[in-house]
Amino acid sequence: MTLIWKALIHKNRDGRAGIQAASPRLSFLVSASYFKNLSRHRKGYIFWSLFGGEEEVSRLKEIRIHGRGGQGSVTAAELIAIAAFEDKRFSQAFPAFGVERRGAPVMAFVRIADKPIRIRSQVYEPDYVVVQDVSLLDVVNVASGLKPDGKIIINTDKPKDDLSLKTDAEVITIDATKIAMETLGRPIVNTIMLGAFCKATKEVSLESINKAISERFKGDLGKKNLLAIKTAYERVA
C-alpha cells in the first residue's frame, strides 16, 4: 500500500505537496479535496510517513570543508549548494562562524538532500570531508566524526600512505596546488577541489558545478576555473 501511495504522491520542490495520480486506474484512491481538508501538519505527517521518512533521512549527505582563511572554503561550500540545487536537489551551505583571519583554520559545511533541509546544527558526522591545505592535518583533526563509509579528499602532493590520518573512510588525494599553478597561475585551490569532490562523490554533476562557476566567475577567470575543474575531475580516479 505504501508503494502505491508513494507513486501517487509527489512533493514539489518548494516544499508544498502536490498529488500526481500514477495512472488513471489508481486516481480514485486519492482525492485532492481529501488532502485539502486535512490540517497542514497532518498532511505533512502523512506525506512524511508515506514518503518513507527513514529512507529520506538516509539520503541526507553532509560535507565539511577544511581550509585556511582566504582559501575560499566558504565559496566552495556555496558553489556545491548552488550546483546541488541546479541538480534538482535541496541544499544548505554555511560557514563555521568565527573571527575570520587570513591563514587561520576555517571550516564550512554543506548539506544536500532530496527534501527541504530544516536542521541548523553544525555537521559533526560528515559523509565527506574536503581538505584544502594538507598542513591542517597537523593542527586540526580533519577526519573527526567522518563516517567509515565516507570519503576524505585532501590537497597534497604526498602519497596517501604518508599522511597521518586516522580514519576508516576512503582517502583520496589530489595535487590541487599543482593544478592551480598550471591552470590559474595562482595557488587558489577551492574550485579545483570542487572538481575532485564532484568526481569522487558523484553528489553533484559536473555540468552543474560548471554552471555555478560560470555564474560566479566571469570572462577569462571563469574559463580558467572551468579548465581547472576539468583537470581535477580527470585526475581523480
Binding site: 501538519h41 505527517y45 556555496e78 549548494a81 548552488i82 562562524f97 559533526y124
Partner: protein, 392 residues
C-alpha cells in the same frame, strides 16, 4: 523561481521590494551584509531610496525618526551591541508611533566579547514598544518583511516592528529561497500615506512634552495598539498566504502538536532542528510536538492557551536569559497561564547562548527531561549543557 542565495541578500532583496524611501545604517561591525546589499541596490539604481551611512546605531535610528516624521517609509538593520546602542531611540520611535521596520540579526551581547548568535539583544528589548516577530528560516525572514510593513503601517497600529532572524545561522546561510517579486509586493503592500507629517506649509509639533496628566494615556494607546496588532498579524499572514502561497504561521505556528503529550515551545531558527528531532522521536513512538512563538510582542496569550491546553508538559527553549529571573519566554508563558485553567507543568531551558550549537541530541535531552517533569518538577529552569567542569 527559487534560488540558492545568502540569507542577508534575500532579506535585503525583500526590503528592496518594499520600496523604502530611506535606509539608514551603521555600516561597520556589528552589522550584516543586509545593508551592504541594499547600498549596492541603491548604487545600481535597483532601489530608489536615500541610503545613509552614519557614525553609530544611535544616529542610524535617529535619522529614521526624522525621515519617518516626514512621511518616509524607513528601513534599518542591526544586531547585538548595535541594538543596545539604539536603546534610547527605540523608545522614541515607538512612542512617536513611527512604523519603522528593522531587521535584527540576533547576536550575543558583550561582555564577554562574543560575535555569535543568541537572542539576548531583542528579547532584552521586549518592553521598548516595538512589535517583534521571530523567524525560523530565510524564506520566513523574506516573507515577513513586507508583512511587517503592512502591520506597522496600519493606521490603528502605527508601531515599529523588529523582524528577528538568528545572526549567522540565518544571515550567513546559503539555501534555496523564493525571492519576492517587486510588483507583486506593491500589490500586497500599498504606498505609505501617513495622516500626520512634518510639513513647513502646515506646521505642527511631533514629539511634544507630556506631563503626568497625559503620559499614562500615551502609554495606554501604545499598549492598545499592540493588542490590536494581535488580529492584524494573523490577518496579514493569511493575506500573504493568499497572495504568495506561503505561510509560516501568524502569531504562532504548530508542528505535530495536536496529540502531543510533550510540547516544546521556542522561537527562531532552532525550530528546523527541533522539527527533525520531533520526526525522529515520533518514529520511536514519543508523542512530542512544537509550538512556535512567531510574535513575541505582542505576546499571543490566547493563541498559546488554546494551542497548549491539552499538553501534558511544556518545555520552553530559548536563547536568552533574564539574569536574575529565568528567561523571557518562559516567564511570559507562565504568566499567560496563571489565571487560566491550565495547570500544565512548565520548565525552561536557556540554550545556544553566544553561538553554542543546539543539536538534535540536545532536543532529545530536553524532551526526556520534560517527560520526567510530568511526575514532578526537579528543576524549573536550567542552563542546558552547562560545562560544570570549567566552573570555579
Amino acid at each position: 523561481m527559487m534560488k540558492v542565495v545568502e540569507g542577508s541578500y534575500a532579506v535585503a532583496h525583500a526590503a528592496m521590494c518594499c520600496s523604502p524611501d530611506v535606509v539608514s545604517a551603521y555600516p561597520i561591525t556589528p552589522q550584516t551584509h543586509i545593508v551592504e546589499h541594499l547600498s549596492q541596490m541603491v548604487a545600481d539604481g535597483e532601489l530608489d531610496a536615500e541610503f545613509l551611512t552614519v557614525d553609530s546605531e544611535f544616529s542610524a535610528l535617529s535619522v529614521l525618526v526624522g525621515a519617518s516624521a516626514m512621511g518616509a517609509r524607513c528601513y534599518s538593520s542591526t544586531t547585538s551591541q548595535g541594538l543596545a546602542l539604539m536603546y534610547e531611540v527605540l523608545y522614541n520611535v515607538s512612542g512617536l508611533r513611527m512604523p519603522v521596520v528593522m531587521t535584527v540579526a540576533n547576536r550575543a551581547l558583550g561582555a564577554p566579547l562574543n560575535i555569535w548568535n543568541d537572542q539576548q539583544d531583542s528579547v532584552g528589548a521586549r518592553d521598548v514598544g516595538w512589535l517583534q516577530l521571530y523567524v525560523e528560516n530565510v524564506q520566513e525572514a523574506v516573507d515577513t518583511t513586507p508583512q511587517a510593513y503592512k502591520i506597522a503601517e496600519d493606521m490603528g497600529i502605527l508601531t515599529p516592528i523588529m523582524v528577528c532572524m538568528d545572526g549567522f545561522i540565518l544571515t550567513h546561510v546559503y539555501e534555496p529561497v523564493e525571492l519576492l517579486d517587486k510588483e507583486k509586493v506593491a500589490g500586497f503592500l500599498p504606498a505609505f500615506k501617513p495622516e500626520y507629517v512634518l510639513d513647513p506649509a502646515n506646521p505642527k509639533t511631533i514629539g511634544a512634552f507630556a506631563d503626568p496628566s497625559t503620559y499614562t494615556e500615551f502609554r495606554y494607546l501604545q499598549f492598545d495598539a499592540q493588542q490590536k496588532a494581535l488580529a492584524k498579524i494573523e490577518a496579514v499572514a493569511k493575506e500573504f498566504q493568499e497572495t504568495f502561497g506561503r505561510t509560516f504561521g501568524g502569531l504562532i505556528d504548530t508542528y505535530q502538536a495536536e496529540d502531543a503529550e510533550i510540547v516544546l515551545v521556542t522561537m527562531g531558527s532552532v525550530i528546523g532542528t527541533i522539527k527533525d528531532a520531533i520526526d525522529e522521536m515520533r518514529a520511536e513512538g514519543i508523542k512530542v510536538g512544537l509550538v512556535k512563538v512567531r510574535s513575541y510582542r505582542p505576546f499571543p496569550v490566547q493563541a498559546l492557551r488554546k494551542a497548549l491546553k491539552d499538553a501534558g508538559v511544556i518545555a520552553v527553549i530559548e536563547k536568552d536569559v533574564s539574569i536574575g529571573n529565568e528567561a523571557g519566554l518562559v516567564t511570559d508563558l507562565k504568566a499567560a497561564f496563571y489565571n487560566s485553567k491550565i495547570r500544565t507543568p512548565i520548565i525552561g531551558f536557556t540554550a545556544g547562548l553566544g553561538g553554542r550549537d543546539i543539536t538534535v541530541k540536545d532536543i532529545r535531552k530536553i524532551t526526556e527531561k520534560a517527560s520526567a517533569a510530568r511526575k514532578g518538577i526537579e528543576s524549573e529552569f536550567e542552563f542546558l549543557d552547562l560545562r560544570t567542569e570549567i566552573l570555579p
